[in-house]
């Protein structure tokens, strides 16, 4: 009896196209790139502000142009997806015990969304409009 195990390999570059759950994972990972680019834009805005009113207004005009707005919309969609996936996994990374029992994951996720809304509202009141 000869042993001759057959080895199947995942394609090294296109493996993530094999299953919907891998595509969702890659979308989650790539969302960080959009958030990163958005942060760079914010820093650029601050830098332009330091250069004076005219420089800042040029920056604002380009940010409000079709390219700037389209990017902002795409970045927001990815940011929401990123937030959603991040909050969804919090019960896995931070399981809580209360009175000798596990706190249900849904409560931990809901608490994160609640905190997110409170912080967003506070920021809006402080610096918004």
């Amino acid at each position: 009896m000869t042993r001759r195990p057959y080895i199947r390999d995942l394609p090294r570059t296109s493996w993530w196209l094999e299953q919907p759950r891998y595509i969702r994972y890659m979308a989650r990972e790539i969302s960080a790139a959009f958030i990163g680019i958005y942060v760079l834009l914010l820093i650029t805005g601050l830098f332009r502000l330091s250069q004076g009113k005219a420089a800042y207004e040029t920056f604002l005009a380009s940010a409000e142009g079709p390219v700037g707005l389209s990017f902002a919309v795409i970045a927001m969609v990815f940011a929401i997806y990123h937030t959603y996936t991040w909050f969804q996994v919090t019960p896995k990374a931070m399981p809580l015990m209360f009175a000798g029992k596990r706190v249900p994951g849904a409560i931990i996720v809901a608490a994160h969304w609640f905190g997110f809304v409170i912080v967003s509202a506070a920021l809006w009141l402080l610096v918004g409009s």
């Binding site: 000869t2 057959y6 995942l10 994972y25």
Partner: protein, 247 residues
């Protein structure tokens, strides 16, 4: 009226004759209460005795009959024909070498499982006559979900990191390491660290989460690995704050 049937498209591989696996189609009767394993047993008993596969308990306890059913890692005994289309593709578990037909080579997992010391390492050995190592229900609740692992390997089959990185210790072994680390009777965490907290240990995991999605026992290996990452990161920073605790 003719009897309703189901077609099973089963991947075959005979190491003595085949250079590569191929599919063979079998037609079996449909029964409302049959699982895929029943259909495969029907093939073995009635149609083709050369078909090789593993199974034992037929009730999702032994963890032997893991296969890819329509591309999804599943226990053949836990997948009803009534939940499948009329043509079912059955392949050996992905990410493992194929020994023959639906039987895979599991040596790599067995070695990795052993490397994390998946047993209670007590502070001091007690004689049996000295009684049990006692534990409260709350202490049990901390790790109980991870004890449900049946080593069925569906999680390894779903994990792209295991597929792409040969050294990755993988979901079930890391979940079991976490199970014993959380056990109040165990002091083996330090001894497991070398394997668990290494790159091929928890840090090769990028939290795809597929392992937990396919787990038939709701063990949630992805959760165990993320918790281990947090604990291990804590160890790393503590080793700077309190260098005398460094091992």
């Amino acid at each position: 009226m003719s009897e309703r049937t189901v077609e099973l498209e089963i991947q075959r591989y005979d190491p003595e004759q085949d250079d590569a696996p191929h599919f063979q189609i079998y037609t079996v009767p449909y029964r409302e209460d049959w699982v895929v394993l029943d259909a495969i047993n029907y093939i073995k008993d009635e149609l083709d005795r050369t078909l090789s596969y593993r199974w034992s308990c037929h009730m999702a306890v032994c963890g032997s009959c893991g296969m890819a059913v329509n591309g999804e890692p599943a226990l053949a005994c836990h997948t009803f024909l009534r939940d499948c289309p009329d043509r079912i593709r059955v392949e050996p578990l992905q990410n493992f070498p194929i020994e023959r037909d639906l039987v895979v080579v599991t040596d790599d997992f067995i070695d990795k499982l052993g490397s994390v010391k998946p047993y209670v390492v007590p502070k001091e050995e007690k004689d049996v006559d000295d009684g049990e190592y006692l534990q409260t229900p709350a202490e049990l609740a901390r790790y109980k979900q991870y004890t449900a692992c049946i080593n069925c390997l569906l999680c390894y089959s779903a994990c792209p990191q295991y597929a792409l990185n040969d050294g990755f210790v993988g979901p079930a072994a890391l979940a079991l390491a976490h199970r014993y680390n959380l056990d109040s009777r165990d002091v083996g965490r330090g001894a497991r660290e070398e394997v668990v907290a290494s790159n091929p240990g928890i840090w090769e995991c990028s939290f795809v989460g597929a392992c937990s999605e396919v787990c038939p026992k709701s063990v949630d290996p992805a959760a165990a690995i993320q918790q281990t990452k947090i604990a291990s990161t804590g160890d790393y920073f503590m080793s700077f704050l309190m260098p005398w605790t460094r091992k």
